[in-house]
Amino acid sequence: MQEILQYFFSGITNGAIYAVIAIGFSMLYNSTDLINFAHGEFVMLGALTMVTFSGPFHLPLLPAFIATVCCISIAGLLFERLAIRTVRFPEPIVLIIITVGASIFLRGIGMLAWGKDAYSIPPFSTHPPLDIAGAKLLAQSLWILLIVLLMVACLHFFFKKTLTGKAMEACAIDKRAAWIVGIPSKLMVMLAFGLSTGLGALSGVIISPITMCSYDMGTMLGLKGFCAAMLGGLGSLWGSLIGGFLLGILEALGVGFVSSGLKDATAFFLLLFILYARPGGIISALNVKRF
């Protein structure tokens, strides 16, 4: 029992991170019909920028956090402007290769800027781990969960209550119709890119204390975040959230009860299973409202 709880805790911690990455994927897919294979690299950039801001630059936690997310969002905007909007024939296959090229490029940048070493930063707070029924929950895990829940609340508020959020939703549902009623859809796409990469950076920041951050950490995280998004239903924010947690928990249980070697395989088995059994995901984005 205690063991299961321990796995569960580590599962929801990872799950929260997958969820943030998945939401980034889903949001972008919604507004642009694009799957950004470079998304994981923005997570990596977020984590490493955070390392630099809080390490060599000696910024306090919160300013470092905000500066990181802003920097990466701007990088995301640049990426959209330079590499995506310039594409003349935006077919899926072309976009896949461009984003894959971007992913290699960004990984190269990461390696140039930070070298091949792995870094980590101290946890956000130095509380001792909580002891719940014999299982330990790290303070950082609580931080992660807290930040993720806060972020989801903010996003929910943004899409439901603000005009910009509604305009984005309108763009996601029908770009042409949104354009006809005067919504600047190009701006919305840019905004979606900024938000999506910002979310990537956010997930990079919150895991930087609990993982070794290096230039090659992004690919696997990106792919798993992608699996989580598929699991929940590509394009559905709530689905991505649920998919992320589900993936995290199942992965942790898989490691605990089957074999740690299969940790990475769990995500892909789940991906195949969901594709074959219910391609729309658990919360089918095809039927349910997108946000």
């Binding site: 296959i93 490029f105 190269g108």
Partner: protein, 312 residues
């Protein structure tokens, strides 16, 4: 008739290359180009002609390589006996995976094949008692056929490019037939293809299986060339590189596959000069080519030539 001339020219070039180039490094690079051409050719049948994307094709490449490695080392089979088994293994896996996966389309198909590729790669890495695990599989025997040893680089070059020629002929014949027309029809419009009586599901599966078989052949040639394989070679990155070869060279173009494979093999070699900047430059080149020549180099360059001729 033109085709015969092209083939003769092709054979002549390979023969000349093998005869005059004695530098081991150049021969090796040329051989790798041949192996990559096989990969690109197989995937081009699937992507360029049938219009189905696969982001997990390195798995079949790996299955070919690992199957022959296991059979020749653990079971001491002759490589020539292992070859058909290796291809059959890839074909069988492709069939089993293809039936459910090819029902998907677009991004979903991409993701399904990606997931499959990752799982196979994890199997290569984790099933260490059979595959040697992450550290790789050593001691794969070199090829020989009676008195002819393929451990000489010249002979291996001939062998690989012989296979390439064979596959080119095979693909061309398929494309110029009822099957090939149906494939292109699926690419242009799956709904309309079904409406003229094409069994789209069956045909997509056949091409998927064909391209898996060709990838396995490439894997076999690779394994016996370098005599050492590790899961890294058959990872997601390789799958992506295969897709890139097809797209950069030009979809639905056989000679484009050859071009794409050559470029993508040579590029990293050239980029060694950039040492640390290698990845950055590689990524940049991919993006730039796709942004400005989305139909691939063959088509893209032809378009540019045509445009400049028109403006003259």
């Amino acid at each position: 008739m033109r085709v015969q001339i092209l083939y003769s020219f092709f054979i002549l070039m390979v023969a000349l290359a093998g005869h005059f180039i004695s530098n081991a490094y150049y021969l090796q690079v040329l051989t790798f180009i041949g192996i990559n051409t096989l990969l690109a050719l197989g995937l081009n049948m699937l992507m360029g002609y049938a219009g189905q994307i696969s982001l997990g094709h390195a798995a079949f490449y790996g299955i070919g390589a690992y199957a022959t490695a296991i059979l020749t080392v653990h079971f001491s089979w002759s490589p020539w006996l292992a070859l058909p088994v290796a291809i059959a293994a890839a074909v069988m896996v492709a069939y089993i995976v293809g039936v459910p996966t090819l029902k998907l389309s677009g991004y979903y198909l991409g993701m399904g094949t990606l997931g499959f590729g990752m799982i196979i790669n994890i199997i290569f890495r984790e099933w260490s008692s059979v595959t040697g695990g992450a550290s790789g599989f050593v001691g794969i025997p070199a090829l020989s056929l009676g008195p002819v040893s393929f451990s000489s680089r010249q002979n291996y070059l001939y062998l690989v490019w012989g296979c390439v020629l064979l596959c080119i002929v095979l693909c061309r014949r398929i494309i110029d037939s009822r099957v090939g027309r149906a494939l292109r029809a699926i690419h242009d419009g799956e709904k309309a293809a079904a409406a003229v009586g094409v069994d789209t599901q069956k045909l997509k599966l056949q091409v998927f299986v064909l391209s898996a078989g060709m990838s396995a052949l490439a894997g076999f040639l690779y394994a016996h060339l370098v005599c050492f394989i590790s899961p890294e070679t058959f990872s997601f990155i390789m799958s992506i590189r295969m897709v890139t070869m097809v797209v950069i060279g030009g979809m639905a173009s056989i000679w484009g596959s050859l071009l794409g494979a050559s470029l993508l093999t040579l590029l990293p070699e050239w980029l060694h000069a950039f040492s640390e900047f290698e990845m950055v430059v590689y990524g940049l080149i991919l993006m730039i080519v796709m942004i400005f020549l989305p139909k691939g180099l063959t088509r893209g360059i032809l378009d540019i030539v045509e445009r400049s001729r028109r403006s003259l």
